[in-house]
């Protein structure tokens, strides 16, 4: 167990095996509470706290702002999201260029989505894209040359104006995919957590990554005998899961969180996760 989880072990020392064999209920509860708080499910956390009789350290008010911002991004209301972020921490977007840019780009995508969807049924086939164009000129274009990645991203996004949305190349399709919203929302969540001096990621995610990595390393070393069926925890599709686990840490956040959601499916997490999604709507 990583040291950052509050230590609730009984004073007498157990051998590691016994501990790993039967994890303490309190520790599992703390782990879940950490997940709810970090991932921003305040009402779930509150109910869980009451049911499991745990005392969460964080105050729920602080989570609320994060949740609101996430909801705005999920809804596609980027303007409000940016304003809320600026209200919460004016330095966040000022110092994190790439986060700022991805928010603005998502805003552009939403604008494009709005104007193209309006005209999709229209026969004239000439959507009014002036809004999107003007937004790109004012907000994104000045930032684009500051970073080669920005420029490429902007170009790809602008391509959405040209091609019809129903038949896009996979590269462009992922821009339209709502999962991008989730990914950006996750990045924002992590950045806010980081700026508040907390962990950027739920503890369980870290543990999962560590597990996946450990299993992969064990298999690659070929010295340790591992049951073919895997070690449980829902990581049946071993090689694939392992590969994904590796990229998740470097790649964008949404993949990580999805892996968590999937990976957690069989364990206690399912209940919390599902409930959380319901609660925050």
């Amino acid at each position: 167990m990583t040291p950052s989880t509050p230590s609730t072990t009984t004073p007498t020392m157990h051998p590691f095996e016994r501990k790993a064999d039967k994890p303490s209920k309190i520790e599992i509860n703390n782990l879940m509470m950490d997940y709810f708080i970090t991932e921003g499910y305040p009402s779930t956390a509150r109910i869980f706290a009451a049911e499991s009789n745990t005392q969460p350290e964080a105050d729920f008010e602080a989570i609320k702002a994060r949740v609101e911002i996430r909801e705005c991004i999920h809804r596609g209301d980027l303007q409000t999201a940016i304003e809320k972020i600026n209200e919460l921490n004016p330095q966040l977007l000022d110092t994190d260029d790439s986060l700022h840019f991805s928010l603005l780009r998502l805003q552009l995508i939403e604008l494009i989505r709005a104007c193209t969807s309006k005209t999709s049924g229209n026969v004239t086939n000439s959507p009014d894209i002036s809004n999107a164009l003007q937004f790109a000129t004012t907000h994104l274009a000045p930032l684009a040359p500051t970073n080669p990645n920005f420029l490429a991203d902007l170009e790809r996004t602008m391509a959405l104006l040209i091609f019809p949305t129903d038949n896009l190349a996979p590269q462009l399709a992922e821009l339209i995919d709502p999962r991008l919203r989730k990914s950006v929302a996750n990045r924002v969540n992590e950045a806010i957590l980081g700026s508040q001096g907390s962990r950027r990621e739920a503890q369980i995610n870290k543990l999962l990554h560590m597990r996946v990595w450990g299993e992969k390393a064990a298999i690659e070393s070929k010295k340790i005998d591992i049951p073919d069926a895997g070690l449980g925890f829902g990581l049946d599709e071993r090689p694939a899961a392992a590969g994904r686990g590796r990229t998740e840490q470097n790649g964008n956040g949404v993949m990580g969180s999805q892996a968590t959601a999937e990976g957690d499916g069989d364990t206690t997490m399912r209940e919390g996760n599902g409930e959380g999604e319901m609660m925050v709507s």
């Binding site: 350290e57 105050d59 602080a62 940016i82 304003e83 600026n86 209200e87 004016p90 330095q91 977007l93 000022d94 110092t95 260029d97 700022h100 809004n131 003007q134 937004f135 000129t137 004012t138 907000h139 274009a141 000045p142 930032l143 684009a144 040359p145 500051t146 970073n147 980081g194 700026s195 508040q196 001096g197 962990r199 950027r200």
Partner: protein, 1005 residues
């Protein structure tokens, strides 16, 4: 979406004419969202006049909330307003403060208009006001920190940041509110955040001793000690028995509440180290603060086991009961540290046996700290500051932290520990432990792959990543730690410090990665006016990153300098690793790069040259290397150390001049191949000019360098230097009594200067063995940096000096004369000297210098006779004797005797002249009983020289010689010389034999 250029004016007008505070806040929010993340828009808004409007808003609300409604926003309000700000006012002020911070985020250029717009004073007034809400205070603090990181230089070509913010912050008006914020007790996250922000703000702005003293006076240090002790409680490190001793004097009377579980210790350690650094008085203030005495009471003679059980020692079960040591010198925390075998006797002896440098530095340091402590606190407890017995248990706690924590906590604990060590508050016996436990950790921090946990330790607003902060500080800590100890130097070198430092020095010259590339703008060449007003962007200045790189370079150079002073092998390996060209590059002064003044070319951001602090460190490194003859002959010459160094002699910063002069001092040594270059370069003239400087240190070192230079040089050069210095001036310097110099003036000057504390008199014993000694201790550069910063505030600071300084200056003058009149062809120079000085007056002056100060001969003769009996008395106590009795300082006596000795050696003609000076001869007679062996030896030498005959075939000469011997006998010298037959000093004994045989030959032969 609005276009920027069109939105600015209407929004601004809306803002200025806002009907209510609420609508004003709303407009401010709009503007904030408009400019965050867009530098071009920030520019446009500044050009449109946003800053004055912000200043108005911030001061307006102040006016509204104040009792008196002063229309002028400059009017300082002394009475603090009781009426609270309305929430709308508070909100609009918060927004205005945030926008100021957002603008400042743009960089140095954007801070200039803010400084001009009088925004700072309004922000600080709001911060200090009782009526401001916590969120407003937090917003203001964040903005101030952003500004503090990006301060432009006070003048376009300067390096040092503008002092406006620091001056305001540490003024009487606001310093109290800093302490008030730190003292807050609530565990509420916002309160905790405001505390951290204040701590960070002080760390970033506090640089001078004056500011640090002001912070101590404002109880900031005590408040910090409270914080630290609450961590001690939380970690369970309260000493056993502390609870039972809460009511002893000096204690708080209660145990501080434990720190909140998520609170971070590092910021508090960091600020404590910053405040304490550089002053013994402040360091003692810390370790004797009530809070620390409460958790770490002075150990009772013995711990009763009953005490141990009561003590709040959390999980440390193995400490209970019998594990607690019973002897006084240790405390329970020490048992948590690994036991380290004490360094071998050989090494310890090694260290003790290094008088020219180590012992002198140690002695002068000790004396100083004692002086300053007495001066500042008025109390003189622990005069014999050996600190063996009364080391605070906090030291052991810090060592424990360094070993068991990571990242910033480890670094800051090490910083505080090393600072206390420097101030002599750590047992000397810990040196062995440090060599094993501390030095390797510090050296490890120099590694690139040294992992620092970024997230948990990240102070929210630091511009630089924690990793860089650690890398910046670590070399400086290493330097401070190993400076005086060969053992620690060896430990560092064994951990591969030289290699790592050399690499770091090289890398500090790599181009600085530019943070942002230029943004695209629809207009072709956006023209924004620049200048020093509140509506225009200022000039570019050093970016936070550039400042970091140069501070890092400075620290690395210091570390190299501290490793090099003793061991030639280390110096060689540094040269082999190729540091010399980089040190020489570090000797080039900073010039603001004209290319950088324009924002358009983006690319590698190179800082040209070095600011004064880095120059000082580079001089120290160069000086350390010049101690090695072989290095001098090869690397330094090849790399061309001379030109930049000579250039620095004329630097505008007098501290840099002094540091450069010290290097020249070593280069001018007789064996140095650089001597020629110095003579050829136009350096002599500069040095002579500097010898006339009002700055005592510059004067001292210039004279020192000249002294080295004239040794064994041609008579032409000697006469030339004589004339450059002006014989009358030399005479004046020789004739004045240092004790008579009125306080605040320098010997030979009539200018009054300010008074300062923390004076470190340097090297009282001067050059003990020869006149050609190494110039004063290496530690002085450290002081110089501190003082140089102080100088930024007040020009008077450099003139802080004492009688001791004047004595040293006079010693140098006298020794300069010695070197002028010795060597081949000396008689010519002596002739010149007699002509210029008037022979009679010269002897009068020399006699004056030998005479006891008060002219009360009786008292001195008694003291000298008493001291004769105990000639084995140590140097240290002897100096104290000379301080107490009004007899002239030993070094002056020695120098005067040497002058007489050399005059006597020049030609037989002068021997008769000397012997006819009855007063001088009587005074010489009295020196035979002097406690210093040097003085006695010189006295005997004079007698030998007086009886010396060049050519025995010359009967006239021989006759004269006999006459002189008779005269000496008549004056009573034979008896005196006989008295030295059994002298403790072998050399004196040998000379005595020679003198006696001469007497025998001439009187009876």
């Amino acid at each position: 979406m609005r276009m920027t250029r069109s939105t600015a004016p209407p929004l601004l007008a809306e803002l200025q004419n806002a009907p209510s505070a609420a609508s004003q806040a709303a407009t401010l929010r709009l503007i904030k969202n408009e400019i965050i993340g867009h530098d071009l828009r920030k520019r446009a808004w500044i050009a449109a006049g946003l800053v004055p409007t912000l200043a108005d808003i911030l001061s307006m609300s102040r006016r509204m909330s104040g009792k008196r409604s002063s229309r002028e926003m400059n009017g300082r309000e002394n009475t603090r307003s009781r009426r609270s700000l309305t929430t709308d006012d508070d909100a609009s002020c918060t927004q205005a403060a945030v926008i100021t911070g957002v603008l400042a985020q743009g960089g140095v250029m954007f801070v200039q208009p803010i400084l001009h717009g009088n925004v700072l004073s309004s922000l600080l007034a709001l911060m200090s006001s009782d009526s401001s809400s916590l969120s407003l205070v937090v917003a203001i603090l964040k903005t101030l920190i952003t500004i503090a990181d990006r301060l432009p230089p006070a003048n376009p070509n300067d390096w040092l940041p503008d002092q406006q913010l620091a001056n305001l912050l540490y003024s009487k008006e606001h310093i109290g509110s800093l302490a008030r914020i730190i003292r807050q007790n609530s565990p509420h996250p916002d309160v905790q955040q405001s505390i951290l922000l204040v701590v960070l703000l002080i760390v970033k702005t506090c640089s001078t001793n004056k500011q640090k003293d002001a912070l101590v006076e404002a109880d900031v240090l005590d408040a910090l000690a409270n914080r630290l002790s609450s961590f001690v409680v939380a970690q369970g490190f309260v000493l056993p028995g502390a609870e039972g001793r809460l009511h002893e004097s000096g204690s708080l009377g209660f145990l501080p509440p434990p720190a909140p579980p998520r609170a971070r210790l590092a910021p508090f350690l960091r600020l404590t180290a910053v405040i304490v650094d550089g002053s013994r008085a402040r360091s003692e203030h810390l370790v004797t603060s009530p809070a620390l005495l409460t958790v770490f009471p002075k150990p009772p003679p013995e711990f009763a086991p009953a005490d141990v059980k009561k003590a709040p020692w959390g999980a440390a079960t193995y400490l209970s009961g019998t594990a607690v040591p019973r002897h006084v010198h240790s405390n329970p925390i020490d048992t948590l540290l690994p036991s380290v075998s004490t360094p071998s006797a050989k090494l310890a002896a090694d260290q003790a046996n290094f008088p020219p440098f180590g012992s002198i530095a140690a002695i002068s340091k000790r004396e100083t700290s004692f002086l300053s402590a007495a001066l500042a606190s008025g109390s003189s407890d622990n005069e014999d500051t050996s600190s063996e017995d009364d080391e605070s248990p906090a030291v052991a706690w810090l060592i424990y932290l360094v070993r068991n924590e990571t990242g910033m906590t480890r670094l800051t604990a090490a910083k505080l520990l090393v600072t206390l060590f420097r101030q002599g508050l750590v047992r000397k016996s810990r040196t062995g432990m440090f060599s094993m436990l501390l030095v390797p950790l510090l050296v490890r921090m120099l590694d690139k792959d040294y992992e620092v946990e970024e997230i948990s330790d990240k102070a929210e607003l630091d511009v630089l990543p924690t990793k860089l902060l650690v890398r910046e500080e670590a070399p400086g800590l290493l330097a401070m730690l190993v400076m005086d100890s060969r053992l620690l130097q060896r430990a560092a070198v064994d951990s591969d410090a030289i290699k790592k430092l050399s690499q770091l020095l090289k890398e500090s010259f790599d181009p600085i990665p530019s943070p942002r590339r230029a943004a695209w703008c629809p207009e072709k060449n956006p023209r924004f006016s620049r200048g020093r007003s509140d509506k225009a962007l200022g000039d570019t200045g050093p970016s936070p990153m550039a400042r970091h790189v140069l501070r890092h370079r400075e620290a690395v150079l210091k570390a190299l300098a501290s490793l090099a002073p003793f061991d030639d092998e280390y110096r060689k390996s540094m040269c082999d690793l190729g540091v010399v060209p980089y040190i020489i590059d570090s000797l080039k002064p900073y010039t603001s790069n004209p290319l950088l003044a324009d924002n358009s070319p983006v690319g590698p951001n190179v800082v040209t040259g070095n600011p004064a602090a880095t120059l000082l460190a580079a001089c120290a490194a160069a000086r350390a290397l010049t101690r090695s003859v072989s290095v001098l002959r090869t690397s330094l010459i090849d790399a061309g150390v001379a030109p930049p160094l000579f250039h620095l002699l004329n630097n505008q910063d007098s501290e840099v001049q002094i540091a450069a002069t010290k290097v020249v001092c070593n280069l001018a040594l007789d064996f140095s191949p650089m001597k020629e270059a110095i003579v050829n370069g136009n350096i002599v003239k500069t040095l002579c000019q500097h010898a006339h400087s009002a700055n005592p240190m510059l004067r001292l070192d210039s004279l020192w360098a000249l002294k080295h230079l004239v040794y064994n040089s041609s008579n032409d050069l000697k006469i030339n230097i004589f004339q450059e210095l002006k014989p009358a001036w030399i005479k004046h310097l020789m004739a004045s009594d240092p004790e008579d110099v009125t306080p605040g003036t320098v010997l030979g000057m009539g200018i009054t200067h300010g008074f300062g504390e923390d004076v470190i008199p340097r090297l009282e014993d001067g050059s003990v063995d020869t006149v050609m000694a190494e110039s004063p201790g290496l530690q002085t550069w450290n002081r110089h940096t501190a003082e140089r910063r102080a100088q930024a505030l007040s020009d008077d600071d450099y003139s802080r000096h004492t009688v001791k300084d004047d004595i040293m200056i006079q010693t140098q003058v006298l020794e300069l004369v010695v070197n002028l009149i010795c060597g081949d062809g000396a008689d010519e120079v002596v002739d010149y000297l007699f002509k210029e000085f008037n022979q009679k007056e010269l002897f009068t002056i020399l006699a004056q210098r030998l005479k006891p100060r008060s002219g009360n001969r009786a008292s001195t003769t008694t003291t000298t006779t008493t001291t004769t009996t105990s000639t084995t008395v140590s140097n240290h106590s002897k100096r104290e004797d000379t301080l107490k009795v009004p007899s002239p300082p030993t070094e002056i006596i020695k120098a005067v005797l040497t002058i007489i000795l050399h005059i006597a050696a020049a030609t037989p003609r002068y021997r008769s002249v000397i012997i006819s000076q009855t007063e001088i001869m009587k005074l010489i007679l009295s020196t035979f009983g002097h406690a210093s062996r040097e003085v006695r030896r010189h006295a005997v030498w004079i007698i030998i020289n007086l009886m010396y005959h060049d050519d025995s075939r010359d009967s006239q000469d021989k006759l004269d010689c006999r006459r002189r011997a008779k005269e000496l006998e008549r004056l009573g010298f034979v008896d005196k010389v006989m008295g030295l037959k059994e002298d403790v000093d072998v050399d004196v004994k040998e000379r005595t034999k020679t003198a006696l045989s001469l007497f025998a030959e001439l009187l009876h032969g």
